[in-house]
């Protein structure tokens, strides 16, 4: 199994800065925004977006963490139960909630995250921000903000590592040789 570094710390930092600006521009300011980071790696990304927005907008955007374990569509199809983590969400009623995740792939996790989110309240609208979109959707879900599109083959895996969870910043692609669209 070969593993190649696709994006390094500098590129990830630039992508997060651009995503933060796009989110605020799309919302016409930071007012009414809530960031919901999907556990595990969407949450540190949401926290970085929050810090970035605080820097250029001088505003603290409420940011929470969302665990989707109880909402996954394969929850009773496994031999061992999926591990669960507590969600910590601010008030989302009437807010523009931006779901944040590291890799968008089949769309099943985002489907589960929408269910999880709506159990916390009734947001005015929900947007989706991802660091990497690797394609191969199995559900009609599309991202609103994308760090980078990385076309992949199904047999490959895309691995986002973050300082907060993995001790380094990097996007790795592994498996068969990289497919270029």
């Amino acid at each position: 199994m070969t593993e190649t570094l696709h994006l390094g710390p500098d590129e990830i930092g630039r992508m997060i800065r651009r995503l933060a600006h796009e989110i605020v521009e799309n919302n016409r300011g930071a007012e009414g925004l809530v960031l919901a980071g999907m556990l595990a790696r969407g949450y540190p990304l949401a926290a970085r977006l929050e810090a970035e927005i605080a820097r250029f907008e001088s505003m603290d955007v409420p940011t929470g963490s969302l665990d989707i374990g109880l909402y996954r569509d394969d929850v009773t199809r496994r031999s061992t139960p999926i591990s669960l983590r507590p969600s910590q969400m601010p008030d989302i009623d009437g807010a523009t909630v931006v779901l944040v995740d590291d890799v968008l792939f089949t769309g099943r996790s985002v489907r589960a995250a929408l269910d999880a989110l709506l159990d916390f309240g009734r947001p005015a609208r929900v947007r989706l921000a991802v660091l990497i979109d690797r394609g191969h959707r199995e559900l009609p879900i599309r991202p609103d903000f994308v760090g980078k599109n990385i076309p992949t083959a199904l047999v490959q895996s895309v691995d986002v590592r973050l300082l907060e969870t993995d001790g380094e910043d990097g996007v790795y692609v592994s498996g068969e040789e990289a497919a270029h669209a």
Binding site: T76, R77, S83, F105, D119
Partner: protein
Amino acid sequence: MLDSVEMSSADLSLQGWQKKDLLDTDVLTRDEIMLIMQNADVMAGVRSRRERKVATLRGRTIVTLFYEQSTRTRASFEVAGKALGADVVNITASGSSVGKGESLVDTVRTLEAIGADALVLRHHRSGAACLAARHTAAGVINGGDGTHAHPTQALLDLFTMRRRFGDIAGRKIVIVGDVLHSRVARSNLWSLVALGAQVVLCGPATLLPRTIGGGDFEEGRCEVTTDFDAAIQGADVVMALRMQKERQERGLIPSLREYINGYQVTTRRLERAAPDALVMHPGPMNEGVEIAPDVAHGLRSVIEEQVANGVAVRMAILYLLVAGRYS
């Protein structure tokens, strides 16, 4: 395809839960106890939201089979199962074929054939849950068997202590009353000792066991004493056990009055405990016997919290036993 898809996404700290049943706390590893505690935290989060229910176990069936009376345990399991989206069927001995003499094993097999994914069993005979578990593929949860074990009570007690204290290692926990006949005391002992607490079992000599689990006294894992006033000194938790009135009829205590004098949890005795000591009771209480009414409803009492936490802990256990059982 689904499996390979999902593996890349979420499972960071997938700790295995491999057990089919929950029969007692003595067969749980420290990691398994901690996994139940973590999941119970998640479930407590679900219960505190506006939408207090999830659909995780939709399509699964949980049967509660109670051969003994119960309010809180049976209701708690029913609420827990429904909060996870499962269908819950309640069977009591009096209104079922058990009254016609059907054996426990036959009843359990029938319930499995009906589609039970998990059975919650309460029975007056020690070992009943273990027997049932051997004769069914369904997950069996011991909801109390004779004088043997009551693991979900012990786990909700532990959860309640951890919510107040965090880590309970080194904490002094005094369990007072009819320890000899108490499945609650036994199951609590195993989980508390596994997490490093200092456990003191206290009661009249006639209501204390001579050995527990083959000689744990000698190993110094817990202390046994008849002197409650000495035991309560510096205690972080005082857990009173229900005093069955029939114990007096059987001659195990000279009189209820004498028991109250020596072992009732009172405000005056609590002055010797730690300043932030918790008072616990598995219920139902005999107020004025094992616990004074002002203590039962006082500032240090977490007895109602225990009941509320019971739902979250039972949700965690049902999740672990039922969610991973499809194949």
